[in-house]
Symmetry: C2
Subunit: 288 residues, 2 copies
């Protein structure tokens, strides 16, 4: 199916959903772009701004006409939304999501979903530290990767459609991976970074005088400490086993440095820093 | 004394010393800018490039004519350099440094320094993750703060001279603080950030596949993992008590999150994230 013949619907017009909406308008140009949200004011504003053609707080106004539905609500809400509104989805339609955790969502949805619907799990490695439609920005996709964790039920053409959407958004690469690898790597590369940032900021030294003493390393490390607590609490809880593993591996490293400091063992610290320098250099081209 | 009448000397023409040299040429315009380094090739290159007027590997060619000497060598080398070459310093001259730790240097130097010399301890909150003269860049000072930890022996006019230099470099603010506060805050705001970055990178997940899974939070948090192991091992060892305290406070926070995950206690995680969000918002204007 061609994008120009499709009605696309965003469920949840927050920062991420709004960013999808803007990117879809710019790069996809579907027949219609719809939105479902619990906040009617946002829908009215998005209509007026020309971001969507039509919005509704009632899924039955929208879902029966939607060929592609993009779930941009919190992970724990995705399953209940799909369950409750299952009869409303258009036969043959594709559902995708943008959730940062996959095992907890994908396993349950493929068990319950109607056979004539196809759920293609997606996760754009894109976002910013802000919350709400006003912070929507199509640029969050640019140069970032887009992960897809296909299920055995997926039709290849539907996976390719989501991949094509991501590429048109300006994502640097689209990767397919399995849900186990996805959730482990996300626990490491994303969730752990957020636990670290808040653990730095929740310190008595972070107060009025801090400005005197901070340089680039502090600003970088704490950028995401201005966190959306609803979203990330939900994501952490849904991936708690993997995140616990990553916190353990990370604090083991911190404690290795601490032990060496206590023992005045400069050689161990030097080796640890040199290992980091070499690893950074080995993979640094991948960062830039 | 006016800068235009002064001979200024950089000891150690690496990334930081080179950055001082370039900034001094641009903003200070002293009578002469000299340099001392153990690497003659760097001195010859710096002379040819017009960055310095004269360089020497032998301090006795330079120190007797220097009105201001800026120590840009590793913290542990500063004391021995000043000790060994004490007789060579010009009477009335000012010595300053750029070291990131202060207690271990300042206490010893004020005990041994000649009465006709004035050591004004300085610490620009400036740097980059690279090593060596080729990475020298006057821009490292722009918009960053410059810390001075005056001693009771300092002459006010000499402190003001270093402050004026920092302001001309484009530093955002110059702060005076005591060495205890300095070393505690630097352990928190700088050294801890580097221990965190290397502890993230020294993980089996940081390998060929990592590029698929990283977003902005990972790139930010690991930027300084490409670390100079000599410099930072030295800095960590010289401030080990304060750094141990900060690692403890930080890992206590990480473990609080871990415990809540183990106990499936979403409320505690939510409160912890919300605290971070509020603190970030309260002080965010200071960051930008």
């Amino acid at each position: 199916m061609n994008f120009n013949d499709m009605n696309i619907t965003i469920v949840g017009l927050g920062m991420e959903g709004g960013s999808y909406a803007i990117a879809i308008n710019h790069y996809i140009k579907p027949k219609n772009l719809f939105a479902i949200d619990i906040n009617e004011n946002i829908l009215i504003a998005a209509e007026k701004l020309g971001v969507i053609q039509k919005g509704s707080t009632d899924p039955k106004d929208i879902l029966p006409q939607s060929d592609l539905v993009i779930m941009c609500i919190y992970p724990s809400d995705i399953i209940s939304f799909i369950k409750i509104h299952m009869p409303l989805f258009k036969s043959g339609s594709i559902i995708t999501d943008a959730a940062g955790v996959k095992r907890s969502i994908v396993n349950e949805i493929i068990d319950i979903i109607r056979d004539d619907l196809d759920f293609v799990p997606g996760h754009p490695m894109a976002g910013n530290e802000f919350k709400g439609f006003l912070y929507a920005d199509q640029k969050i996709f640019h140069g970032n990767s887009y992960l897809i964790t296909p299920t055995q039920k997926n039709r290849e053409e539907n996976i390719l459609l989501i991949e094509q959407m991501a590429k048109r958004f300006g994502c640097s690469k689209v990767y397919r991976t399995d849900i186990e690898t996805h959730d482990s790597m996300i626990a490491y590369a994303s969730q752990l970074m957020h636990v670290i940032a808040v653990s730095i900021v929740n310190n008595e030294n972070f107060s009025h005088d801090i400005n005197q003493f901070i340089g680039g390393s502090f600003k970088s490390a704490t950028r995401v400490a201005n966190i959306n607590p609803d979203l990330w609490t939900d994501a952490f809880m849904q991936n708690s086993d993997k995140l616990i593993d990553q916190i353990n591996a990370f604090t083991d490293n911190m404690n290795l440095v601490k032990k060496a400091l206590v023992e005045q063992d400069a050689d161990t610290i030097y080796s640890f820093l040199e290992k980091s320098r070499m690893k950074s250099n080995e993979y640094v081209s991948q960062f830039e």
